[in-house]
């Protein structure tokens, strides 16, 4: 093989592998990306039932109902709307009424959000960033309460 052929083989392989990686990325981008919505966005943006997304807001005071086999229902609220959420499983340590929460799952026909993952803040100064920003955008933010400095 001449030097030129060697170089071509090298470049060809490089383009092949990188192209493969790029293809994977583009394909995965179509399916595995999850959008974030606040309860108010769901009507405003017309999110269709059956779509998978992350729902973020505050757990409504007095809305937590525990059922059999660790079923739990609660409502996620922001300034204007509220969405009922259903979840089965163990909740994070910091899941509480009146606190920020992010739930990932699918919106069902009846308007109930069926969550398979529930994330809460990690400590008392942590509010999921998306939640904080959504609340700020709606003028519902009550200052940097509890934030250091």
């Amino acid at each position: 093989m001449s030097r030129k052929q060697r170089r071509l083989a090298l470049i060809g392989t490089a383009v092949g592998v990188l192209g493969f990686a790029l293809g994977l990325v583009l394909y995965a981008m179509r399916d595995s990306i999850v959008f974030f919505h606040a309860p108010a966005d769901i009507q405003a943006k017309g999110v269709k039932p059956g779509t998978r997304f992350r729902l973020g807001g505050l757990v409504k005071e007095g809305s937590i109902q525990r059922g059999e086999r660790q079923q739990i229902r609660f409502e996620v609220v922001d300034a204007t709307s509220s969405i009922p959420v259903r979840y089965q499983g163990l909740l994070p340590d910091l899941f509480r009424e009146g606190q920020g929460v992010v739930a990932e799952g699918v919106l069902e026909e009846a308007g109930i959000f069926n969550a398979d993952t529930v994330l809460a803040r990690h400590d008392e100064i942590y509010m999921p960033r998306e939640v904080a920003e959504a609340l700020k955008a709606q003028g519902h933010w009550q200052g940097e309460k509890g934030t250091k400095r």
């Binding site: 060697r6 990188l18 995965a28 999850v34 086999r69 163990l90 340590d93």
Partner: protein, 659 residues
């Protein structure tokens, strides 16, 4: 007083770093050996200053000096002593100080290392290293001073985030930082070579130990962090594709590629330009990781406090070093002389392929991590890129890499023989395929990915073993002779084989996660829940008080059939000062498999919500990483890295044994 002295020492270190930057660089330009040699003692002086400063802060933590803001915010007098010490780096300011300490420590080691680094290369390297130190010292002094006082001093501190109060945290950040910062040395060497316009096998041999050492520590650091998340967060997962985890995985992938490409440079003087680029990229990704974690762009356990000024500052550092070094690279790279040539089918070719796969994997992780940030900045849309994306893109790239690994490893340099190499691996392939088929047959109805992944891991392990065998044994020879030969193989051969076997071990552990079983149930006293072959019986639930927390602990007996095989305890803790609850998982280890219990909620009717996992072979994930790091460490002791070491009477042979 000690606190102010610590603060002053940091400022002094900054002044000395300016000397360490300017004088050797000037010396290298003017070709003045006296000026070039100034770098080494000054680097040691900088190290002494920073070490003193770090000791002062540690002393403040050890004695709970609540007149220091940093101690007030992250410590408590009732906190166990060990966590008072580890609390030093459990916060933004302290962890940046640790970063700088490790940076200057590496500078100090370069300064005193007696291996044959040419004077000019050493001078330039120390100057570049000083440049990084200056940037971070200015950063800490301007925006993140750990020595700020408060008056009047509060009576009590606010305690450390409870999930950070754990032995895992004592080791994880230092290991990770040694890895991150270790790449600053290879970066400094790369920039020094570009400044000089000269790069050769001597350069590669000088850089390789640093790359290997940084890589070993980063491997251990990531594994430690993963194990910590596994047992401390109580979710039973070991890798979440969290942006912060990705931030450490990217430099690891680039570093792994670099470890392999420096081999080619050292042996064959090929891939020069690519190696330099990788050295720059590995450290750039480390800096990017620091930026992502420290700037508050991401919210996670790791982002301690959000302060926009810091984010902007780190971003400026990032742009300066990455932009500067890449510009220098663009100007100087064409000057570098091309090295040895090789056929596409050869060890070099295989290593190029390895580099391609590793950098593609790194690129997909990069895209997945930064795409949401970029999209939000550009369009305001908020998305999250989670595990499905990464699993879909990363695994298809990792699998061919592992399939080709044993093949490339036993290929000859310069021009390889694909058929001959494959023939030597027939038994390896056969054995792995047989085990895979047996596993598939034994677990019909179960996930197919698990036996395939396990067979792949086994293929890599046996391939590594085959490497040692074919080098030391020919059919018909006595085993004793083979053993003697095997012992006489260069340590780098053993190190390579071990590290590759470690990759296989980790792959088996990861594949086996598909066999894990999870059960969630509400359990009353005396009741049992089952997961896989094991059952757990709830024996008691007791409230207790620890030094700085209260907890409710559930004790369970683990049974296999009707045999009691052990007891586990899981607890829901509340740390009093912060009012933060945490879950302490209970883990019973059987061989390399584990039974994992975590405490959910106390139900109104007196039952306890429990999550029980059976995780077969799960420990292999981290054991494999430990084996990889061990392999790297053994490679590091190879005699060729000690060439010129005065302690050895017998000079090491100049020629490297043929491979």
């Amino acid at each position: 007083m000690l606190i102010e002295a610590g603060h002053f020492a940091l400022a002094l270190a900054l002044g000395l770093s300016l000397v360490q930057f300017a004088v050797p660089l000037w010396g290298a330009r003017a070709n003045d050996p006296v000026l070039m040699n100034v770098g080494s003692p000054v680097a040691l002086a900088v190290l002494a200053c920073v070490a003193f400063s770090f000791a002062a802060l540690t002393f403040a933590y050890a004695t709970s000096d609540f007149s220091v803001v940093n101690v007030v915010e992250n410590s408590h007098s009732a906190k166990p002593f060990i966590y008072k010490l580890t609390g030093v780096w459990g916060n933004h300011e302290g962890s940046m100080l640790l970063w700088i300490l490790i940076l200057t420590l590496f500078g100090g080691v370069v300064a005193v290392s007696k291996n044959s680094v040419p004077t000019r290369l050493r001078a330039n390297t120390l100057a570049v290293q000083a440049c990084v130190t200056i940037a971070f010292l200015v950063f800490i002094l301007m925006t993140s001073n750990p020595f700020t006082r408060v008056s009047p001093a509060p009576f009590e501190g606010r305690d450390l985030n409870p999930i950070l109060q754990d032995p895992g945290l004592a080791i994880h950040p230092p290991l990770l930082y040694v890895g991150y910062v270790g790449f600053s040395i290879t970066f400094a060497f790369a920039v020094a070579a570009l400044l000089d316009g000269r790069i050769d096998a001597v350069w590669a041999r000088a850089v390789r130990p640093w790359t290997l050492a940084a890589w070993c520590f980063l491997t251990l650091g990531i594994a430690m962090g993963s194990y910590w998340a596994y047992y401390e967060l109580g979710w039973g997962g070991w890798w979440f594709w969290d942006p912060v985890e990705n931030a450490s995985l990217m430099p690891w992938l680039a570093g792994t590629a670099l470890v392999h490409s420096t081999v080619v440079m050292e042996k064959r003087e090929a891939l020069k330009v690519w190696t330099i680029l990788l050295a720059i990229l590995a450290f750039s990704l480390s800096l990017l990781g620091t930026f992502l974690v420290r700037s508050g762009v991401l919210t996670s356990v790791h982002s301690f406090a959000v302060d926009p000024a810091r984010g902007v500052f780190i971003l400026a550092i990032l742009i300066f070093f990455i932009g500067g070094s890449l510009t220098l690279f663009a100007i100087r790279a064409p000057v570098l002389r091309q090295g040895g040539i090789f056929a596409p089918v050869s060890r070099e070719g295989a290593l190029v392929l390895n580099n391609l796969f590793l950098s593609s994997a790194c690129a997909t992780v990069f895209v997945g991590t930064l795409y949401p940030l970029a999209l939000e900045a550009l369009t305001g849309a908020k998305i999250s890129v989670g595990a499905p994306f990464f699993n879909f893109t990363f695994i298809p790239i990792a699998v061919p890499l592992l399939l080709l690994l044993p093949l490339g490893q036993s290929m000859a340099w310069k021009r390889g023989d694909l058929l001959g190499t494959a023939q030597r691996l027939y038994w390896v392939l056969g054995a792995a395929a047989a085990v895979g088929l047996i596993l598939i047959a034994a677990t019909v109805g179960g996930p197919v990915a698990a036996p395939l992944g396990a067979a792949l891991g086994l293929f890599v392990i046996l391939g590594a073993a085959n490497e040692i065998v074919t080098r030391s044994w020919r059919p018909g020879q006595r085993l004793a002779t083979a053993w003697l030969r095997a012992r006489g193989l260069p340590r780098s051969i053993w190190g390579t084989a071990l590290a590759h076997a470690g990759v296989g071990v980790t792959a088996i552990g990861i594949a086996a996660t598909a066999w894990s079983v999870e059960t969630i149930a509400t359990v009353r006293l005396g009741e049992r829940i089952a997961a896989g072959p094991y059952e757990a019986r709830l024996d008691s639930v007791v409230p207790r008080t620890g030094p700085n927390y209260r907890e409710e602990a559930a004790r369970l007996t683990v049974l296999s059939g009707d045999n009691e095989i052990g007891a586990v305890e899981t607890a829901k803790r509340v740390y009093v000062t912060r009012g933060t609850p945490t879950t302490e998982a209970g883990i019973l280890t059987r061989g390399v498999s584990q039974v994992y219990v975590s405490f959910g909620d106390r139900q109104a009717d007196g039952g306890v919500g429990l999550r029980l996992f059976y995780k077969p072979l799960v420990l292999l994930i981290w054991l494999g990483a430990a084996v990889m790091a061990l392999g790297g460490a053994i490679s590091l002791t190879d005699r060729r890295f000690r060439v010129g070491a005065p302690a050895r009477a017998k000079a090491a042979p100049l020629a490297v044994p043929a491979e």
